[in-house]
Subunit: 353 residues, 2 copies
């Protein structure tokens, strides 16, 4: 606490990202990174751009990324907003589209950055309980609200809503913005992007950090009605004219254009997810059916914190959240098949049958 | 205007950056980019990092950049805050350190992003008139305020305050944060960094966009008392855990470490600035004495807008601001000697003796 801080700073409790260890010989299954390298075209595009134009400012509106998003998702450029990772995009969404009198709504168990954004901008929020099986019940969101934020698939559960449920939510909340955060959608869930042209209150947020293997590059984008995008642009242009550097721009375009690489790597991850899920179940774990690049699992006889420590001793990092309802769960990112063998091997020692 | 926008969005009037043309055969002297490429070490470091680790998240606190800043500026890591360009750093400064009851102060003629940041966060501000020669008079800032923001050298004038004046300002405003934005300091002004250890109310902001030739990479940082840095970290971690991508991090470190390249290129720019200044004066221009990588000049007989158009026809871009007191000035970035010849050649036709 400092007398120089703005008054509201003291009330902020920052988001805590998963540990980024400085040692290399760990099996790192704690931050949902992709185990496969990005498309080689990304690396080439970056090396070329770095050698040529770094002294010049980048495109302020990341137009070439917007065009690549349009080609991939069948939307038009005025329906696309690009930011420095989907967290920055979400932060601008809260400031531009969710700061109203009524509280915004999101699930009690979801991405823990949502309440942090709300507090940053002084936005009231209410959490809506997931059902006993950790599913979102969209009818619970039919009440006065200043906006709704859903991760689909949800994090850290991995559970996904079908598009019909998203559409029902949109229809029953015509006067507020429904933000669907699809960070993990490419690992087996249905995207709401086909609804973007039909609902002016829908905003779908994507990232290149997960399915495109570019956590280290920081690119995210939102797709929605041009009026929503314009609101985001107003905030972005009052904050930072050039949020994406030149390398992120060319890297994002190259990643979005390599459809083969994208398909191959996400299919591999989904196959490994089946191996991990079955292996965990054989060891007695309850594993929620995941549509993401992680699984969320608990063991009826073994404490999650003890398992976390045991895995850490075996040089395997997974993530644990000290939060109501989920404190006995571990969130385990899906890595390579090698990672899966290491994980299941360590757990066989920690959870003897 | 959309019913989905947060109420305060309508009142925002975004910052307008200089034009980033898509054609290549222009002499681009409108956005103060460095005419020289960054250090070759930057390009190497980026190519190497791109080939290795893009699938993994970057360091959340850009620790390696902070350490490089410490080596270069003689500060300690807890005195350094790093962001995605100095505009992002400044945005967080406004939110974290300048949102108080009293209005903040900055000059009537200065970087036009300051009032934009203030409006984004609902911060009241008052502008303080520069004197008749466009100099800051620090005694005019001795009045109740919620903070002071000075660009030094100032933009778009290029005029600099000596460090003794900055120190006087700090001493007479012990209860508010004084932000000194030194984006252009390396082109001949005195830096306030040596005062950082002595004044807990000083925050000095730097960028790699100008003297390090990295406008395309988006790296800025602030140096100040650890309490100020902690306030900034709180906001940053409520906004975006990973503001710098992996390539910006390794590029920034490489740039800060190549002192020879830095010295050589900034000296070249200062020499060319003398050539441009003298050439303009010979043509009858009034040129403010610049400590930046641009000059600010007006001609007593020729309208600035007409000159802007004439230069544009000659495929030379410079910047003009339609603002009180400075509407007859042009801001001309310092490029290579070739750019200087092209500029002065075109002006000889537009401003015949």
């Amino acid at each position: 606490m400092s007398r120089f801080w703005s008054k509201t700073i003291c009330g902020l409790s920052p988001y805590v990202p998963g540990e980024q260890p400085r040692v290399d010989d760990l099996v790192k299954l704690n931050t949902n990174e992709n185990p496969y390298d990005p498309s080689p075209r990304v690396v080439e595009a970056i090396a070329q751009e770095a050698a040529q134009r770094l002294r010049l400012y980048p495109e302020p509106e990341s137009d070439s990324v917007r065009r690549a998003v349009c080609r991939h998702h069948g939307v038009s450029p005025e329906q696309v907003f690009v930011g420095n990772g989907s967290d920055e995009v979400l932060a601008h969404v809260f400031r531009a589209l969710l700061q109203h009198e009524a509280p915004i709504l999101f699930p009690d168990v979801t991405y823990t950055f949502y309440p942090v954004f709300a507090r940053l901008y002084g936005i009231a929020y209410e959490t809506v309980a997931l059902d006993a099986h950790f599913n979102v019940r969209v009818d619970d969101y039919v009440r006065p609200n200043g906006g709704i934020v859903l991760a689909n698939p949800n994090a850290p559960t991995g559970l996904a809503l079908p598009i019909a449920q998203i559409e029902r939510l949109l229809q029953r909340n015509r006067d507020s913005v429904v933000v669907v955060d699809e960070a993990y959608v490419d690992f087996g869930a249905e995207s709401a992007v086909p609804l973007v042209g039909r609902y002016d209150n829908l905003l779908v947020v994507h990232t290149l950090s997960k399915a495109r293997s570019l956590a280290g590059l920081r690119v995210g984008f939102a797709m929605g009605h041009p009026e929503l995008v314009e609101g985001l642009e107003r905030v972005k242009n009052s904050f930072n004219s050039y949020p994406l550097d030149r390398l992120a721009i060319v890297g994002a375009v190259a990643a979005l254009e390599d459809q083969d690489h994208f398909e191959r790597t996400r299919q591999s991850i989904m196959i490994t997810r089946t191996v991990v899920t079955e292996g965990l179940r054989e060891l007695g774990f309850e594993v929620l059916p995941s549509c993401a690049n992680f699984v969320f699992a608990r063991h009826p006889q073994h404490d999650a914190r003890a398992l976390l420590r045991g895995l850490r001793e075996a040089r395997i990092l997974v993530r644990h959240f000290s939060a109501p309802r989920i404190e006995q769960f571990l969130r385990i990112s899906i890595g390579t098949d090698y990672d899966a063998v290491a994980l299941l091997g360590a757990l066989r020692l920690l959870v003897p049958k």
